[in-house]
């Protein structure tokens, strides 16, 4: 089983890196300005000039997919990272300190956990009003309880190790123990979760901007390109098709990285 896992890791990591690079360098890579309209060239399928065709405003779809990747991947990576920063600390505090801190944090995250991420995201984005920032906040909050729960249970396991008590006895501060002893020991599963939840976040961002709750037009994101494309699916399905393919590819890539990392860390449960 070793060979296919390594292959998947390579493909997944390579694909993720490629997508991030394409998005990062889109201003130099994109053949045209993603906002340039041309009514003469509207609603074209793929041609030699426009590889992915044009949308109903005559904008180049390839350029929009590349630029859209900046927004979609930025939100998809930024939101889980922010969520992890907050959630991991909250979970570590809950798992390390126990008592009231634990009870309050666990109850709150259990309550949030009982809501599906998309529903939470929709609630928050709807409340904050549609924008780039509110999509980030909505996704970060939706993933927050998941990070809390994971780091809490991992911390509880580490907390029972004798070296923690030894450190306390040696007069080390709790904060320092959490930073130097607990965090490195729970980092493995958290990294796995982070890459799987980046995949989730990319999907969520796509869904939110598809619903009109993410980045606002004319700025392209993969989700709002599909939303735009829906208005004329009969005449020109290409913008929606290519944007959707980009989302699928990105989610697939990060899922593969996460799965491969999990198998590396925990060969017992490997498929």
């Amino acid at each position: 089983m070793n060979v296919p896992i390594n292959k998947l890791t390579m493909i997944g990591t390579g694909l993720s890196a490629l997508l991030i690079l394409l998005a990062a360098f889109s201003p130099w890579l994109a053949p045209l300005d993603p906002l340039d309209q041309s009514f003469i060239a509207a609603n074209q399928g793929p041609t030699a000039e426009h590889w992915f065709g044009t949308d109903s405003f005559g904008r180049d779809v390839l350029s929009r997919v590349l630029f859209g990747g900046r927004i979609s991947l930025a939100i998809g990576i930024l939101a889980p990272v922010l969520s992890a920063l907050a959630g991991v600390w909250a979970g570590m505090l809950a798992g390390y300190l126990g008592g009231w801190t634990d009870r309050v944090l666990s109850r709150a995250s259990d309550l949030l956990m009982s809501f599906p991420t998309l529903l939470l995201g929709v609630m928050i984005a709807a409340a904050l009003g549609p924008s780039f920032q509110s999509a980030v906040i909505a996704i970060a909050v939706a993933l927050f309880p998941r990070f809390v729960r994971l780091s809490r249970s991992a911390t509880q396991v580490v907390r029972r190790e004798p070296f923690i008590d030894a450190s306390i006895a040696a007069g080390r501060g709790h904060l320092s123990i959490m930073l130097h002893h607990v965090l490195p020991n729970i980092a493995g599963p958290l990294v796995v979760a982070l890459s799987l939840w980046i995949a989730t976040a990319i999907r969520l961002e796509a869904a939110l901007s598809f619903l009109g709750l993410g980045a606002q037009p004319p700025t392209p994101s993969w989700g709002n390109m599909i939303r735009d494309g829906m208005s004329d699916l009969v005449g020109d399905p290409w913008p929606a098709a290519f944007a959707g393919a980009a989302i699928t590819l990105a989610v697939l890539a990060f899922n593969m990285v996460g799965d491969a990392l999990r198998d590396l860390l925990d060969p017992e449960t490997a498929a």
Binding site: F115, T117, L119, V122, M123, A127, G129, A199, M230
Partner: protein, 311 residues
């Protein structure tokens, strides 16, 4: 049993209260004036004042809050800020579309996912398992609304087998309209169910009591379908309960794809029109679903697993 259900339903109240509170205050910090949103940029100050008066928006915030909570708890959601229609009626019209979609998708998910998961576990590393792996990978990566669009393009637009848009009129037409959205969400759920069933069954097949069953002379088929599967279903049920909620929230995007006049369409319409009352009501209904599905999941688990006592 009945006592337990009642107690659990009582626990719904704090959850719904919390959601109501969050929804209320979250919507109040939303930018934009709902009166202007409803009446347009050029409404006279007089008209705006009358509008605010009518909806109680000029009352102090805490009055609005308690009024809102009291109304919500009696399932009286008031009228839409935009067109004055009673929200109860709007919800009543939308709900059947959403519930039928969620139920149909779940049925597809179970009917395809469970047997496929069991078969891939039994014939581990075989051809079917490889197919299952691919199916799961696609299911986990393809966003449901995009999958819906692809189905729409192929089966409605090009093959013309299914209607493009709307919810349909009359039973058979509605069923016809249900097929594509249900397959969209159902196949994604099937991928999830399949993976869950596979891993859970593989885990159970390693247990000692499976060997005990073989040692009694039970045929392999019954070892798997009676002794192992029943145990494997316990984690599957919990996972499916969680996933049912994901499917339910997936109806929001899929309804938009198929222009299905359900709860999601209503909710998103409310958001873009800044219709506070409508959005509040829609979110409360979703929150209620969450609580009910969680309760049903726990009841079902207790029915399968005798070690769980309902207390």
């Amino acid at each position: 049993m009945i006592g337990y259900i009642l107690r659990r339903l009582l626990e719904v109240i704090p959850t719904v209260l919390l959601v109501l509170t969050l929804v209320f205050f979250a919507l109040r910090i939303m930018p934009g004036d709902p009166a202007i949103a409803a009446l347009g940029e050029f409404a006279t100050p007089d008209a705006i004042a009358r509008f605010r008066e009518k909806l109680g928006l000029n009352q102090p915030l805490y009055m609005q809050y308690f009024g809102f909570i009291a109304q919500s708890l009696t399932a009286d959601f008031g009228t839409s800020m935009n067109n004055g229609a009673p929200i109860g009626d709007l919800l009543g019209q939308a709900l059947p579309y959403t519930i039928s979609l969620a139920l149909a998708a779940t049925s597809i998910g179970i009917v395809i996912g469970l047997p496929l998961g069991a078969m891939t576990a039994v014939h581990r590393d075989g051809k079917l398992d490889a197919f299952g792996r691919l199916f799961a990978l696609i299911g986990f990566s393809l966003p449901d609304f995009y999958f819906g669009i692809l189905l729409l393009l192929v089966f409605s637009l090009h093959l013309d087998w299914f209607p493009m848009l709307g919810g349909g009129k009359g039973f058979f037409d509605q069923l016809h309209h249900l097929v594509l959205p249900a397959i969209t969400l159902g196949l994604v759920m099937a991928a999830f169910t399949m993976r869950l069933t596979r891993s859970s069954l593989l885990e159970v097949l390693k247990r000692d009591y499976v060997r005990t069953a073989r040692g009694k002379g039970v045929a392999e088929r019954w070892v798997i379908f009676k002794h192992a599967l029943r145990n494997a279903l316990i984690p599957v049920t919990t996972g499916m309960g969680i996933y049912l909620l994901t499917t339910l929230s997936g109806t929001i995007t899929v309804e938009l794809v198929f222009s299905r006049p359900g709860l999601g369409t209503l909710l998103i319409g409310g958001v873009s029109a800044r219709d506070y009352t409508l959005v509040q009501a829609g979110l409360v209904v979703f929150a209620f679903f969450v609580v009910v599905v969680n309760l049903l999941t726990d009841l079902l688990c207790a029915a399968i697993d005798p070690r769980i006592t309902l207390r």
